[in-house]
């Protein structure tokens, strides 16, 4: 067993850290969050140059050829600084799905575009009334002489406001399939929205939009695998956000004085910090566990659920308590701790939520005897 990062992995972590240290401070983050699309094109280019956008794309397809460990390492750093660039949504997830196709080389141009930062993708899977793990997939796909066309609506497409292409799940008869839809294609309209953590997204309406089929051996399984990747990556991101939120809170209690002493000297508060630290460690363990399982080639959804549940619990406590421990300044928009809490809430909502994962796990407890690490 070995939980340390290799030299290359540590270098990757440091490179991301350094890139963001140079690119943002609190002020710059706020400005960026309120500007048009909520992230910076120049930082995106630097991410491409550092190899982050094509991180998990094989080298012969234009990427860096790394795996889930590297992805998780990068995500943790992005979480630490509340990086607004949509690395996961616009690059890593779309690439992962394309790489699962029967012939990834067919998508080489797109993959190269992702890695170089020229193409932004987005996955459009969720529909109205969906709640994890339920996915209706009511969007219909019809084959015509001119090719496939899609009709239906997709909601909550993360960073779907600016995507150059969408990977859309749809039903052809009874079968689920995934399609590539060009962002500027006819019959596609998008309604942009913002998220509570100052990011962006869009709902899509497809009206007979031309689409290209992505050949996948088992589209359902591929979509589930991509979902697992998303969950594991978000868990890793949450770890970074939690660690930093706790660090900021600890620092604040160290400098803020009331009743003649630094707040951190009051045991009632020091114990709360200790409890939060324990929760962050538990979350980190489960996040690493999920990464290790994916790295070994298994994609077991139960393990992703275990990680997600712990991360949701820890994230909620860290966000909730960090605000409270700051007092009034914690509920203000200008001070950064509330932004960490908002990001952690958004990650929870994307993960599926503690309630949903608990339900999944609860429904399976009679299928085994002692709980064991798989």
């Amino acid at each position: 067993m070995d939980f340390t990062l290799s030299r290359e992995q540590a270098a990757l972590r440091d490179a991301v850290r350094e890139l963001y240290r140079r690119s943002y401070d609190i002020e710059r983050l706020r400005e960026t969050a309120t500007a048009d699309r909520g992230w910076r094109a120049d930082v995106w280019r630097s991410l491409a140059d550092t190899g982050i956008l094509g991180l998990a794309i094989p080298e012969d397809l234009g990427g860096a050829g790394a795996g889930i460990v590297e992805v998780a390492t990068v995500m943790t750093e992005l979480g630490r600084v509340l990086a607004p660039e949509p690395v996961l949504d616009s690059a890593l997830i779309p690439a992962d799905l394309l790489l699962r196709s029967n012939n990834p080389r067919q998508w080489q141009e797109t993959l190269e575009g992702i890695a170089s930062g020229e193409l932004l993708g987005a996955i459009a899977h969720e529909e109205w009334g969906d709640r994890w793990p339920h996915r209706a997939i009511a969007t219909s796909a019809t084959e015509t002489i001119d090719g496939w066309i899609l009709s239906g609506s997709k909601r909550l497409v993360k960073h779907g406001d600016v995507a150059d292409f969408y990977l859309v799940s749809a039903r052809a008869g009874d079968d689920v399939a995934v399609f590539m839809v060009d962002g500027s294609t006819q019959g596609l309209s998008r309604t942009a929205f913002r998220t509570p953590d100052r990011r962006r997204g869009a709902h899509l309406l497809l009206e007979k939009s031309p689409a290209t089929l992505i050949e996948l051996g088992d589209p359902d399984a591929a979509l589930r695998r991509v979902e697992t990747l998303e969950q594991v990556a978000l868990c890793a991101e949450a770890i970074g956000s939690m660690e930093e939120a706790l660090r900021i809170t600890t620092d604040y209690l160290g400098s803020r004085k009331q009743f003649g002493a630094a707040l951190v000297t009051y045991q009632a508060l020091a114990h709360r910090l200790a409890d939060l630290h324990v929760l962050v460690e538990m979350a980190r363990s489960m996040s690493l566990y999920a990464v290790a399982v994916v790295e070994d080639g298994a994609g077991e959804t139960r393990i992703a659920s275990r990680a997600a549940l712990q991360v949701c619990r820890s994230a909620r406590a860290v966000g909730h308590e960090s605000i409270h421990l700051h007092g009034g300044i914690g509920v203000t928009e200008e001070y950064v701790i509330g932004q960490y809490a908002a990001r952690l809430m958004a990650i929870e909502a994307r993960l599926g939520g503690a309630l949903e994962h608990l339900q999944q796990l609860a429904s399976g407890i009679d299928s085994y005897d002692k709980v064991a690490l798989g």
Binding site: R155, P196, G330, E333, R350, L355
Partner: protein, 388 residues
């Protein structure tokens, strides 16, 4: 022993319920239920209707519009108000400065301020907290120096709720920096917000609302006639005021409304083959909260009938009440689930309650912070146990 309301009290409840259902404009109630109360208009409109019917300041002395209600009646009134989604009258007027002036003000101050305070012709804000004086309020530094018939005030207040609408501020200021005990050198001043030297800077909260402000005071001249009570004795009046503040914040009715709303929304939220309300885990969580709320309400009843230790009760109600207010908003964010992710989008696609749910939850963390934070309440409760 009896927990039922007496016949008279039950009649009183009827009368109040009738009043709220017939006299308050429905659009105000609807906005309040949706968390979209318009400030200051809705609050002013409601308070004036209440005042017209003699309901704005029931707890004041009868000479100034009070009703001489029993604690049970006061509770019933507040409860019905919450359950009917009627925005509360301005707490700074009704629960804070009004009672202080009734108790400690001069005749001239009473005549000058109380009628307008009851009718919200004067909008008050509370200038207590400062950047370095939060939980430790007695460390406040804003200074007031006597200069003839005036005080000259310099310093900064913060977290001043709705100061942007305020005509007047009641403030704690330091008049004697050399007092042997910090609490002894503080005075209670009434400051006209239009005075030269006052600047108000809004602070945006996590839900985007502008509710609190920083208030900067630079050489603000305040007539000595605006001093409440005796110079350097302001802490006594402040303690009197804060005691009144804490008993109001249990807000059982507000949490009840929110739990009922949560059940309704969960029943409308698709999940798998049914709705979210079919989920036993969610049901258990709601049942638990309802039970805690019931325990709080009975405790509130006991408090109104004097059955509990008076030293600790206000803190118990504040602590538990704010925890439940936080938990119920948290529940609504959990019910919204993925739909909480889209804000500022069209509401025909994702309802506004869901769009707002995460930011509302985060901002609602304020109730455990203001009015004496949960830690401050625990310290008070502990002190009643240990005597230390």
């Amino acid at each position: 022993m009896r927990m039922r309301l007496s016949n008279d009290e039950a009649l009183f409840r009827q009368e109040i319920r009738q009043f709220f259902s017939t006299q308050i404009p429905e659009d105000i109630q609807e906005r309040s239920a949706a968390g979209e109360t318009r400030e200051p208009d809705d609050i002013a409109a409601v308070q004036r209707i209440l005042n017209e019917h003699g309901y704005a300041v029931p707890s004041w002395p009868t000479a100034w519009g009070g009703r001489d209600w029993s604690p049970v009646q006061e509770h019933v009134f507040l409860d019905e108000m919450h359950l009917a989604h009627v925005p509360e009258p301005l707490t700074f007027n009704v629960d804070m400065i009004g009672p202080v002036l009734c108790e400690f003000g001069t005749d001239e101050q009473k005549a000058r301020f109380l009628p307008g305070t009851a009718n919200l012709d004067i909008w008050w804000c509370q200038g207590f907290s400062e950047p370095d004086a939060g939980s430790d309020l007695a460390s406040l530094r804003t200074s007031a120096v006597r200069d003839g018939a005036e005080f000259v005030v310099n310093g900064q207040k913060t977290w001043t709720t709705l100061a942007q609408h305020a005509d007047w501020m009641f403030a704690l200021v330091r008049t004697n920096p050399d007092a042997p005990k910090r609490q002894k050198g503080i005075s209670f001043l009434l400051i006209d917000m239009r005075s030269p030297g006052i600047t108000v800077r809004p602070i945006t909260l996590l839900d985007g609302s502008v509710e609190v402000n920083e208030v900067f005071l630079s050489d603000v001249r305040v007539p000595v006639a605006n001093l409440v009570g005796e110079q350097d004795h302001g802490w006594t009046y402040a303690k009197f005021l804060l005691g009144n503040e804490r008993t109001r914040v249990a807000r059982v009715g507000v949490s009840k409304n929110r739990l009922a709303q949560a059940k309704r929304l969960a029943g409308e939220t698709p999940a798998g083959r049914g709705t979210l309300l079919d989920d036993p885990i969610l049901r258990a969580r709601i049942a638990e909260m309802e039970n805690e709320l019931a325990a709080l309400e009975v405790t509130l009843f006991r408090a109104t009938s004097g059955d509990v230790d008076q030293a600790a009760i206000a803190s118990i109600l504040k602590l538990r009440g704010s925890e439940l207010q936080e938990q119920t908003t948290e529940l609504i964010a959990d019910i919204a689930g993925p739909t909480a992710l889209a804000v500022d989008g069209p509401s025909d696609e994702i309802p506004r309650w869901a769009q707002r749910s995460i930011r509302s939850y985060l901002t609602q963390r304020k109730v455990g912070i203001y009015g004496g934070s949960s830690e401050v309440q625990r310290m008070i409760i502990a002190k009643t146990l240990t005597g230390r």
